[in-house]
């Protein structure tokens, strides 16, 4: 395998009792890529994220990060190694300001307050939240809250950033800004994996798309090919809609 391989997911399976959330899912992410994971509701996208980042204990399979086996390690240890995720519903610390929220992230690599603060301010300038540094995190709009969550993740200086639906519920303008932000994150050397329903963003951002359905990977490829794939259309729209218009 080439030297640029960053994340190697090998045959991950996760069952909740009798329910199959993920079965034998494998994919790879190269350094500097943006890879999207899509699929209908309940396809197991978030579960897969949780398995990779240590929030769920996977039943089978392995996850390698830079060749190192990180399967089923504690989430904070995986974070320290450089794999950081966000959540579908933006999670922020409610009795802190925006700056303090981001500082909580930057403390991972800066033990002392001044260093953590400097890093946090840098990140807030990068994500465009600097003017709101002193607001309470709960006072933010949905879009700013998602931006804050991305800022907190970036403050941990990850090599691989995993965003779980960071673009859901945004207006068109906010969506453009978020797409632009994610692109700039990648241009700064951070590899990005997103779980996303907003197809506009997926089409525009992704180098590659992985499609899950009922816990299994059904297709993988460049975005244009993937949306034209009959299996993908069937997964989203049902068996009646298997005609493809090119």
């Amino acid at each position: 395998m080439s030297a640029s391989l960053l994340l190697d997911v090998q045959g991950v399976s996760k069952f909740f009792g009798g329910l199959r959330a993920n079965e034998d899912v494998s994919f790879q992410v190269n350094k500097g890529e943006i890879v999207s994971i899509i699929g209908p509701n309940g396809a197991g996208k978030s579960t897969l994220f949780s398995c990779i980042t240590g929030f769920h204990h996977m039943d089978k399979g392995r996850v390698l990060f830079k060749g190192m086996d990180i399967s089923n390690r504690k989430p904070h240890k995986i974070g320290k190694l450089g794999v950081v995720r966000t959540f579908q519903i933006a999670q922020v610390i409610s009795d802190m300001t925006v700056l303090e929220n981001v500082m909580t992230g930057s403390f991972l690599r800066h033990t002392r307050v001044p260093g953590a603060r400097r890093k946090a301010e840098e990140i807030l300038a990068f994500t465009g939240l600097k003017g709101k540094s002193n607001l309470n995190a709960l006072a933010l709009s949905i879009s700013d809250k998602k931006r804050l969550e991305v800022s907190m993740a970036l403050a941990m200086e990850p090599e691989l950033l995993m965003l779980d639906e960071s673009m859901a519920g945004l207006t068109l303008v906010e969506l453009r800004e978020m797409i632009e932000l994610i692109r700039r994150v990648r241009d700064n050397g951070v590899t990005v994996v997103v779980v996303e329903h907003v197809m506009e963003a997926v089409m525009e951002l992704s180098d590659r798309v992985v499609v899950l359905n009922s816990g299994r990977k059904i297709v993988e490829g460049p975005p244009k090919e993937v949306v034209a794939n009959p299996e993908v259309i069937r997964a989203y729209l049902g068996d009646g809609y298997n005609a493809v218009r090119q």
């Binding site: 610390i93 909580t104 941990m156």
Partner: protein, 339 residues
């Protein structure tokens, strides 16, 4: 990520004040309050007044200690009396049996409390909210019952601290309460300093992340189990110090005076009513509650009608209804809005 991030778009350069640092004004006010507290017992020389102040400082210290785990890390403990009692018992037992100085007993008690806190905190590391609170009640009661039946430490009869010549080295004074007053004030200052340092450091930020949710803390790279143990251990150590002080001050302890649930509840009330999650909140809470309880008991308690408890209860109800952030919490909120 490389360090170039941010530099390209560092457009708006509004300076951001750090909300958790103390300003010059606050420092000056703090110093003034401290000087006042140093002079106060020299002006009002009544022994009862000094006693009330000492007990107030003691509960303030316990409240500050509770706040480290309860206020910042969100781990509501109703078992603090166990640590208080272990502090009292450790120093007293060491003094009685081996003639060890209570000052050494103070540290030994703190260490034993912290170890016990870690031993009980580890299996509880996934418990949150009500469930954690219930576990701490059970823990406190178990410790009390054990001591009530433990012959080596006097069981239900308790321990009487032997009379020694009064001196700082013996941690014992007979002619005046003044040394106790200053020692306890010093302890309280120590606790406040520890709480301030914790709350403004990495640890304090991590505690607040843990309070928000374990999930978000894990995402941010926080070793939740370890930081929860830090919170419990710091809290236990400080509470235990107050317990040792109590033993040396009252000179008699038994499980029913140092390990009962009402002490734990009092500690929580002091912190909550003053303002959890603030460094000085518990101090303010103690300054309101303890004198009220002591004086109302002295004035009204002898009548046996429970008027003191009614007054006390009314105040608690009123504060919780109108100042849910606690007295100090509401005050700082007001100051912030006024700016």
């Amino acid at each position: 990520m490389d360090d170039s991030i941010g530099k390209q778009t560092a457009a708006d350069e509004t300076p951001v004040p750090n909300t958790r640092n103390i300003s010059g004004f606050q420092l000056a006010a703090g110093c003034a309050a401290l000087v006042l507290l140093l002079i106060l017992p020299l002006v009002f020389s009544s022994a009862f007044f000094k006693h009330v102040m000492i007990i107030t400082f003691m509960f303030a210290m316990c409240g500050v200690a509770w706040n480290v785990m309860g206020g910042y890390a969100g781990m509501f403990s109703f078992g603090q009396a166990a640590f208080f009692g272990i502090g009292a018992y450790t120093s007293s037992f060491l003094l009685l049996t081996f003639g060890v100085s209570p000052w050494i007993g103070l540290v030994a008690g703190g260490i034993i409390s912290a170890i016990l806190a870690a031993a009980i905190g580890y299996p509880c590391s996934k418990l949150r909210g009500h469930y954690f609170a219930i576990a701490t009640i059970a823990f406190g009661e178990i410790v009390r019952i054990v001591f009530n039946n433990w012959k080596m430490v006097g069981a239900a009869e308790g321990l009487t601290i032997p009379m020694l010549k009064e001196s700082m080295a013996h941690f014992m004074f007979h002619s005046s309460k003044l040394p106790y007053y200053y020692i306890m004030l010093g302890f309280l200052l120590l606790a406040v300093t520890v709480c301030y340092l914790v709350s403004t450091s990495k640890m304090g930020y991590y505690f607040r992340a843990i309070k928000e949710s374990h999930e978000i803390a894990y995402v941010l790279g926080v070793d939740v189990v370890r930081y929860r143990l830090y919170a419990i251990m710091i809290s236990a150590f400080l509470t235990s110090m107050a317990g040792t002080f109590y033993a040396q001050y009252i000179l008699y302890i038994d499980p029913e005076s140092v390990m009962i649930l009402p002490i734990s509840v009092q500690i929580v009330l002091v912190a909550m009513l003053g303002g959890a999650n603030t460094v000085l909140g518990p101090v303010i809470g103690a300054a309101i509650l303890i004198p009220l309880s002591e004086y109302s008991r002295a004035w009204l308690g002898y009548k046996g009608t429970g008027v003191d408890m009614i007054l006390y209860g009314t105040l608690i109800t009123a504060i919780s209804m109108y100042q849910p952030n606690g007295v100090w919490g509401s005050f700082t909120e007001l100051m912030r809005r006024g700016k």
